[in-house]
C-alpha cells in the first residue's frame, strides 16, 4: 500500500496537526510523530487486513464549524487511509480500554509457556501485553488445547496453542513467496493455519514465517531450545550461501553461531531470507572444521605449524609459470582472492587461475558488464524475461523481486526454461523448450521481435515451443525489459550462443553470478589471462602432468567437476594445496592443508550478483589456528617479499580500491563501476 507521495492531506493526531501523503495508512502516519500503535497482524510489506484489532484508534472528522464528529466505532489504524480533515486519537480512555480488551482476548487461549518458549524475550505479544495489556485475566474457563510442536517442515515447527491467528504466515506465502502453501482451516475459535492436508511446508522461503510470527507459534526447528534471546549476542552479517548477498543478523553465543535472521537491506533482500540462507549455516559449527595446518608425510597428513606449511608450498610452487595453477572457491573474500591472484601472476609468473565452475565459459570480451539491472530496480521493470534458469533455486532473493514486480507493480513476466520453475505460476508466457536448445529459442525471440516469420518457425521447430507462444512472449519484451539469466545457462553447450542472441533482443541483459563472490572474482580479474588455462584446462593439465602444483583456494572440484576427471587430476598432480574450511574428499589428495576461516570469522569484502560491494566484519573468531583468506595471502606475500605488511583486511581492501579499476572510488554498499 505504498502511498502516493505527490498529494498530501492534513491530519490531526492527538491534537498535533501533520501533513501526510494522501492514502497513507494511519498506523504509518502516527510514526511520523514518534508515536506507536501496537500491532500484530499488520506488516508493512504485506497488504493490511485488520484482523487482530490491536491497532484500534478513535477517528473523527473536522466539521465545517470546527467541531470534531467522532465515528461511532473505533477503527483499525492499519487499514485506514489518511484523508483530509481526519482526526485521530491514539491516547484516549476508550483506546486504552480496547487495547486491553483485545489483549485479554488474545491471552485467554494463549498458553503461559513463555518460560520455555523460543520467542520469550523477543515476543511482540509479551511486549504489547506489558505495555498495553491487562495485568490479570478474568478467564477461568478451560483454555483451547491443540497441537504443540507440530513439525510443519524440516525447518519450521507449529505450536497451535500459541497461535493468535494473525494470518501473517498465511499472507506471506500468498503475497511474498507466492507458493500459497499455508492457509487457514476451520473457523471461529478453532481456526488454525495449516498446510493443505498437513503436507510438508516445502516453500523455499519458509524460514521467514518464523521471524514474522508475532508469537512463538512458528519456531525454528534448528534453533529450538538452543538459547534464550537475551543470552545471544548479535552482529550484522552477509549471507554468502549464494550470490545475492543478503543482509543478515548472526546470533551467536560463546563464539558459536546459533541462528541467522534476516536484516533489512532495501537494496537487496528487503528483510527476507531464503531457507538456504537462514538454515544453511550449520557448516560454521560442523565437527569436521579444519583447525590446524596439515602436511603430508608418506600416506598421512600430520599436524604442522604455519611456517612449515608455507615453506612447503613456496618450494613446490617455485617452479612457477605454466606448471602451477589455482582454483578459487566462491566464498573467498575479495582480499583473499586478490592476494592469491597477485601471488600467482607476479611471483609465480602464472596465469593459470580461475574460479568458474560452469561446463562452458564465455570469451573474456563477452563476459564483462554482466549485471546492468540492480536487484531493487527489477521491481519497476514493465517486463522481465527469465531465461534458462530457475530463479527460486539459483538466485532466490532476486526471484522474490521478480515476483514482487509482478504482484505489486503488474510487470509482465516471461519464463523460458527447460524445466518447471516457481516463476511459472505468475508468468504471462511460459516457454518450455527442449534441453540444450537455449540458443534456438533466444534466436526465435529475436526473430519474432523483427517479424521474421521464417526465423520464428525455424526456432519453434528446433526447441519444441509453439510459434504463437514465441510471438506472444516477444510482444511483451522491449527496451525496458530486464532479462534475467544466470551462469547456469553456461552449463548448456548452446548457452554462449544464447547470450549472444539475447544481447540482440534489447533491454538489459543480466547474467547473474551464482557463487557468493563470483562476481567479485570476475571484477578482480581472477581469470586466466591470454596465456593462462581455465578451470577445465587446469584439471586436464593436472591429469596429463603438464601442471605440477595445484592450489585449491576454498574450491572443491568434486562439487562441480566430473568425478572421474577430478579424481584423475588430483591423483596425477604432484602437489596439492588444500586451503579450506572443512575436511572433504579433495583434502585426501592434499600435500598441504591450510585451515581457513569461514567468511564471518574474518573481515572481508564481497561483491554480489548485482555488483554491489559489501563489507563483512568478523562476527566470530575462527576455530583453532584457522586463518582468514586475506591473512593467508598476506603472510605468503610477506614471505616472498612482495609487499609492505598488511595489518588487516582493510589494508588489502585499500590496495584493491587503488589497483583494480572496477573498485575505484566505490563505497561499501554501492555497485561497482
Amino acid at each position: 500500500m505504498a502511498a502516493v507521495a505527490s498529494e498530501t492531506v492534513n491530519l490531526v493526531i492527538n491534537d498535533v496537526e501533520i501533513a501526510v501523503p494522501k492514502g497513507e495508512l494511519i498506523v504509518e502516519s502516527v510514526k511520523r510523530l514518534g508515536l506507536e500503535i501496537p500491532i500484530f497482524c499488520y506488516h508493512p510489506r504485506m497488504k493490511p487486513v485488520g484482523m487482530c484489532r490491536m491497532c484500534l484508534v478513535e477517528v473523527g472528522f473536522k466539521q465545517p464549524d470546527g467541531s470534531v464528529r467522532k465515528m461511532p466505532k473505533p477503527q483499525a489504524a492499519c487499514t485506514l487511509p489518511a484523508q483530509d480533515n481526519m482526526v485521530i486519537f491514539t491516547d484516549t480512555e476508550m483506546v486504552h480500554r480496547d487495547r486491553k480488551g483485545v489483549l485479554e482476548f488474545l491471552l485467554i487461549n494463549h498458553p503461559l509457556d513463555c518460560p520455555i518458549c523460543d520467542r520469550g524475550g523477543e515476543c511482540p505479544l509479551q511486549n504489547n501485553t506489558l505495555f498495553y495489556g491487562p495485568s490479570t485475566s478474568r478467564f477461568i474457563e478451560v483454555k483451547r488445547h491443540a497441537h504443540k510442536a507440530f513439525p510443519l517442515s524440516k525447518y519450521v515447527t507449529l505450536d497451535l496453542e500459541r497461535c493468535i491467528q494473525c494470518g501473517r504466515c498465511v499472507r506471506f506465502t500468498e503475497e511474498i513467496s507466492g507458493d500459497s502453501e499455508l492457509a487457514f482451516r476451520f473457523r471461529g475459535a478453532s481456526m488454525q493455519p495449516s498446510t493443505f492436508e498437513l503436507r510438508d511446508f516445502t516453500s523455499k522461503f519458509s524460514g521467514n514465517v518464523i521471524e514474522i510470527c508475532p508469537v512463538g507459534a512458528l519456531t525454528n526447528r534448528e534453533y529450538r531450545f538452543r538459547a534464550r534471546p537475551w543470552d545471544l549476542e548479535t552482529k550484522p552479517s552477509i549471507c554468502l550461501e549464494c550470490s545475492n548477498g543478503c543482509a543478515t543478523w548472526f546470533d551467536y553465543r560463546v563464539n558459536r553461531l546459533v541462528r541467522v535472521n534476516g536484516r533489512t537491506n532495501e537494496a537487496i533482500n528487503e528483510e527476507w531470507t531464503c531457507d538456504r540462507g537462514k538454515f544453511g549455516h550449520e557448516h560454521y559449527n560442523a565437527d569436521n572444521r579444519l583447525t590446524v595446518p596439515l602436511i603430508r608425510r608418506g600416506d598421512r597428513l600430520e599436524e604442522c605449524d604455519w611456517p612449515t606449511a608455507y615453506a612447503a608450498i613456496l618450494s613446490a610452487f617455485g617452479v612457477g609459470g605454466d606448471k602451477v595453477a589455482m582454483l578459487a572457491g566462491s566464498s573467498l573474500s575479495n582480499e583473499g582472492a586478490y592476494l592469491l591472484n597477485r601471488l600467482f601472476h607476479r611471483k609465480f609468473g602464472s596465469a593459470n587461475v580461475d574460479y568458474r565452475r560452469t561446463a562452458h565459459t564465455l570469451p573474456p570480451d563477452e563476459a564483462a558488464g554482466n549485471a546492468p539491472t540492480a536487484i531493487a530496480d527489477l521491481e519497476l521493470k514493465p517486463s522481465i524475461l527469465v531465461f534458462g534458469n530457475s530463479p527460486a533455486d539459483d538466485i532466490p532473493i532476486i526471484f522474490l523481486r521478480i515476483r514482487k514486480a509482478w504482484f505489486k507493480h503488474g510487470a509482465r513476466v516471461v519464463v523460458a526454461h527447460h524445466g518447471e520453475t516457481e516463476a511459472d505460476s505468475f508468468a504471462d508466457v511460459v516457454l518450455r523448450y527442449a534441453p540444450g536448445t537455449d540458443a534456438d529459442l533466444a534466436k526465435g525471440l529475436v526473430a519474432a521481435r523483427a517479424n521474421d516469420a521464417a526465423g520464428v518457425a525455424q526456432a519453434a521447430a528446433a526447441c519444441g515451443v509453439d510459434e504463437s507462444r514465441i510471438r506472444e512472449a516477444a510482444a511483451l519484451l522491449g527496451e525496458n525489459t530486464a532479462i534475467v539469466t544466470t551462469d547456469s545457462l553456461l552449463n548448456s553447450a548452446s548457452g554462449a550462443d544464447a547470450f549472444r542472441a539475447l544481447r540482440q533482443l534489447g533491454g538489459e541483459l543480466n547474467r547473474y553470478a551464482l557463487g557468493a563472490n563470483d562476481q567479485g572474482f570476475a571484477d578482480l580479474g581472477l581469470v586466466p589471462g591470454p596465456d593462462g588455462r581455465g578451470t577445465a584446462a587446469i584439471l586436464a593439465g593436472c591429469a596429463d602432468g603438464s601442471i605440477e602444483s595445484l592450489w585449491l583456494a576454498g574450491a572443491d572440484p568434486f562439487a562441480f567437476g566430473d568425478r572421474a576427471t577430478v579424481e584423475k587430476a588430483l591423483e596425477q598432480v604432484g602437489f596439492v594445496v588444500y586451503q579450506g574450511t572443512h575436511k572433504s574428499e579433495a583434502m585426501g589428495f592434499a600435500s598441504v592443508v591450510l585451515p581457513m576461516a569461514e567468511p564471518a570469522e574474518g573481515d572481508g569484502t564481497y561483491v554480489n550478483a548485482e555488483r554491489r560491494l559489501q563489507e563483512l566484519r568478523a562476527v566470530l573468531s575462527p576455530p583453532g589456528e584457522a586463518k582468514a583468506a586475506w591473512r593467508i595471502g598476506a603472510e605468503l606475500a610477506l614471505r616472498v617479499g612482495m609487499a609492505k605488511p598488511y595489518f588487516g583486511a582493510k589494508d588489502v581492501a585499500a590496495e584493491i580500491f587503488t589497483q583494480v579499476p572496477a573498485f575505484r572510488g566505490v563505497a561499501f554498499g554501492d555497485r561497482l563501476n
Binding site: L106, V142, I164, A183, R187, A189, S190
Partner: protein, 442 residues
C-alpha cells in the same frame, strides 16, 4: 395497517412460479415499463418509494443503486444476498420458492438501472428447493428473451447466475459473501472508509450492487405503481415505507411468513400468527436472533418500523420474529444463541473469534450450575469488548442478544447464578430443553 399481501399475494398459487402464471398476474409489466424509462428515473422512483434494505440493516436502497458510476468503464455486477442464515428468518426461502420471477424481474430492473452486466444470486447452501425453483425460472426467462441478450428488444443484455453457498452464516455478510463468490475463504473484507464502497469496487473490484431477496422483489411493484404509491404504505411510521415480511416462529399457533404494512403493531403480528401457544407471552426477539430481546411489556406498545422498533429497544432486523411463552428459560435461550454465534464466527478478528467462545463458555458454566457472582458483569464486559470492535457485524450480532437479555431479564440470570437452576420450573419448560448440546464447539 395490518396484513398487506404485496410480495406474497400469489405465493399460495403454484402457477405463479411459472412464467405463464406469473405473466397472467401481470408479471413483467414492470420490466417492460422500466426498459422504456430513463435509468435515473428508475432510481428516482426507488428513492421516492423510501425502500430500505430488507436484509437487516435497513440501508436506503436507492443510495446503493445511485452510487454505481453512471459513466460506465467496465463491468457492473449485481448480487442478490439469498444466504438467509439469521436464525428465525425464512422469508427469502419462501419468496424464492413461490415467487422466483419477482426476484428475477426485480434484479433485471435493478440491473438495467445500474447498467449491470450480470447478476449473481448467492443462495444459502441448504436452500436446495429455492435454488431449483430459481433455476427453473431463470431457464424459462432466458427462453422467453427476458434474460440474456437484448431483453425484450431493448438492446439491454443481462445474465443471471445462481451460486450456492457452502453452509456458513458469515457468508450472509455482504463482503464475506463477495469473498465466497470469488472463490476465497468466506471472510469479510475491508469496508468503507478503509476501502471504497462496493458500488465503486465490489466483487472482482468492479462496481457492485448488493441487495437482499426481499429488497429486489419490491422493485417491480415500485415501478408498476410508482414510488409514491409504495411510500404511501407505512406512512404512519417515521421512515419505514412499504411492506415487510415477518417470519413468525416460536410459541405461536400459526407460525409462518406474514407480510405486514409498516406501522402495524407487534401484537397485531402476534394475533395474525394465531396468538400465543402454551402460555402467556414472555419475550420476543423481533428481527432475527441477533437483535436484542424484548419482554412482554416492551412488546405491548411496539410498532413495527425501523425507528419505532429502536425506540422499543430492539430492531426490525431481517424480520425473524420469535415469540417466547412464559415457560421459556431466557438463560437457556441465550446460551443456545451464544452457541450459534461461537460456532459461526469465521475466526478472522480477535474479538469475535475469542469473545464469542468465551461468552459461550461462561454461559455453559452458568447453565451447568457453576455461575459465580460477577459473571453478569463479566458477560457485559466481554460483550462490550466485542461490540463495535469486531471486523464485521457478526461480532456485534453475537454480543447484542447477550447484553440485551441481561438488560431485560437480569433477574433470570441472577437467579440462575445464585441457585444453579432456572427460575422457570415447569413441566413445559423441561420439555423445551434440548436433550444434548446441539452443536459442540471445540
Amino acid at each position: 395497517m395490518g396484513e398487506y399481501k404485496l410480495l406474497l399475494e400469489h405465493s399460495h398459487d403454484p402457477a405463479y412460479a411459472t412464467l405463464a402464471g406469473y405473466q397472467a398476474k401481470g408479471g413483467y409489466a414492470a420490466l417492460k415499463k422500466a426498459l422504456g424509462m430513463e435509468r435515473q428515473a428508475i432510481i428516482d422512483e426507488v428513492k421516492a418509494s423510501g425502500l430500505r434494505g430488507r436484509g437487516g440493516a435497513g440501508f436506503p436502497t436507492w443510495i446503493k443503486w445511485n452510487g454505481i458510476p453512471k459513466d460506465k468503464k467496465g463491468k457492473h455486477y449485481l448480487i442478490c444476498n439469498a444466504d438467509e442464515g439469521e436464525p428465525g428468518t425464512f422469508k427469502d426461502k419462501q419468496l424464492m420458492e413461490t415467487t422466483p420471477f419477482l426476484l428475477i424481474e426485480g434484479m433485471t430492473i435493478a440491473g438495467f438501472a445500474t447498467q449491470g452486466d450480470a447478476g449473481y444470486i448467492y443462495i444459502r447452501g441448504e436452500f436446495v428447493d429455492a435454488a431449483k425453483a430459481l433455476r427453473k425460472a431463470i431457464d424459462e426467462a432466458y427462453a422467453a428473451g427476458l434474460l440474456g441478450k437484448n431483453i425484450l428488444g431493448s438492446g439491454y443484455d443481462f445474465d443471471l447466475y445462481i451460486h450456492l453457498g457452502a453452509g456458513s452464516y458469515e457468508c450472509g455478510e455482504e463482503s464475506a459473501l463477495m469473498s465466497s463468490l470469488m472463490g476465497e475463504r468466506g471472510m469479510p473484507r475491508l469496508k468503507f472508509p478503509h476501502v471504497p464502497l462496493p458500488t465503486i469496487s465490489g466483487v472482482w473490484d468492479r462496481p457492485t450492487v448488493i441487495n437482499n431477496v426481499e429488497t429486489y422483489t419490491c422493485a417491480p411493484f415500485i415501478i408498476n405503481n410508482g414510488g409514491n404509491w409504495y411510500a404511501s404504505l407505512g406512512a404512519s411510521t417515521k421512515n419505514s415505507r412499504g411492506t415487510k415480511i415477518f417470519s413468525v416462529s416460536g410459541h405461536v399457533n400459526k407460525p409462518g411468513n406474514y407480510e405486514i404494512e409498516f406501522g402495524t403493531s407487534l401484537m397485531d403480528l402476534l394475533e395474525m400468527a394465531g396468538g400465543m401457544k402454551g402460555g402467556a407471552l414472555k419475550a420476543c426477539v423481533p428481527g432475527g436472533s441477533s437483535v436484542p430481546i424484548m419482554n412482554a411489556q416492551q412488546c405491548d406498545g411496539a410498532i413495527i418500523g425501523y425507528e419505532e422498533m429502536a425506540e422499543a429497544g430492539s430492531m426490525v432486523g431481517s424480520g425473524g420474529c420469535m415469540f417466547l411463552n412464559e415457560h421459556t428459560c431466557i438463560v437457556t435461550f441465550i446460551w443456545r444463541t451464544a452457541q450459534f454465534y461461537a460456532n459461526e464466527s469465521c475466526g478472522k478478528c480477535t474479538p469475535c473469534r475469542e469473545g464469542t467462545k468465551w461468552l459461550l463458555q461462561i454461559m455453559e458454566r452458568i447453565r451447568s450450575g457453576g455461575g459465580r457472582s460477577g459473571d453478569i458483569e463479566l458477560l457485559q464486559e466481554v460483550c462490550s469488548q466485542i461490540d463495535g470492535r469486531s471486523f464485521c457485524g457478526l461480532g456485534d450480532a453475537a454480543a447484542w442478544p447477550v447484553a440485551g437479555a441481561i438488560k431485560v431479564f437480569r433477574d433470570e440470570f441472577e437467579y440462575f447464578i445464585e441457585h444453579g437452576r432456572s427460575i422457570v420450573q415447569s413441566a413445559e419448560s423441561a420439555r423445551m430443553l434440548p436433550e444434548s448440546p446441539v452443536v459442540a464447539v471445540s
